[in-house]
Subunit: 159 residues, 2 copies
DNA sequence: CCGTGTTAGTTGCAGTTGCAACTATAATGC
DNA sequence: GCATTATAGTTGCAACTGCAACTAACACGG
């Protein structure tokens, strides 16, 4: 018995990155299913939609920053949304590399119909926790996120 | 002012599924980078490896259950690992549809070299929390996971 | 202005993933 | 013992993703 402390024996069920990934996938695919079935949206598209509904007129790069998506993903999501007439893309007057993205009325409507669904799901999920617990959980989640960004790739052990 | 309560206005930054997804992606890609660069493993492969190191002799389906991967993903991960001689695949005597999966010595060694890396990363990540906070966080994570499994697809509002 | 470098966004290609169809084996019912 | 149904695992195809190369537009120094 008595395995070396940091030696072998790592159970996935107790490995935080694994648990985060499983939860995130469970939740995301539950939501993605709903977006897709009902509104023909992918998750990236929903993210772009959500950001633009709150802050119209952003450029693709700005959307990328706020959604943690890379520019290719944003570009494709925007193309899809534009084709479906959910948003308009206009070249910026001052800098014609940029485009100014705004939801159409139809895009805005889709957003407004999804929000209650998304909220309802989230509410049912976190009903598992008391409001205090939830607040605490989210705080820690935020701290872990900051730390994860700071750490960068594993094994680049310069810490 | 005073928007309708469950009406518009949903900021991604405060939307739990989104935050989980960002954190999980940050962490997973940090680790994936390390696995890939150093050992030529993908994340699914690492998961299969980790399960088999702890419980040799499982079938592909059994591995799937313990890793929350679907059978196609398992199949491909296993194929890759077998090609790299990290594991052996033998038809089960009693039921020749099944195969019995066992790590080779080389597979076991890879596992043993990854574990400390994985642990080190995890340790640096959760250093953000005190041990008590961490324990609490993981409990809640577990509760949320159970709830998420229970809920199923969003919008199938039969709850 | 004109070359050099930089930034915004798109596109091509290669690798991955997921779903459905398929093969092979096993279990069940008559 | 044979037809039906179910299960384990693989494979084909289509969609998605990520990276690198590319185009277009701007910025800046000479």
């Amino acid at each position: 018995m008595a395995l070396p402390d940091n030696g072998p024996a790592l159970d996935l069920e107790h490995f935080l990155p694994y648990r985060l990934s499983v939860l995130s996938n469970t939740v995301s695919s539950a939501l993605a299913g709903a977006y897709a079935r009902r509104f023909g949206l992918t998750i990236p598209q929903w993210r772009v939609l959500a950001v633009l509904a709150r802050t119209p007129g952003l450029s693709a790069a700005a959307v990328g920053e706020r959604t943690a998506m890379d520019k290719v993903a944003v570009s494709r999501a925007v193309t899809g949304l534009a084709r479906a007439r959910r948003l308009r893309r206009v070249l910026a007057a001052k800098d014609r590399r940029r485009s100014v993205l705004t939801l159409t009325a139809s895009g805005q409507r889709v957003y407004e119909r999804i929000v209650p669904l998304a909220r309802a799901y989230e509410r049912r999920l976190v009903a598992e926790l008391t409001p205090d617990e939830r607040a605490q959980f989210e705080t820690w989640l935020g701290r872990l996120q900051k730390r994860a960004w700071l750490l960068g790739p594993a094994g680049d052990s310069r810490v």
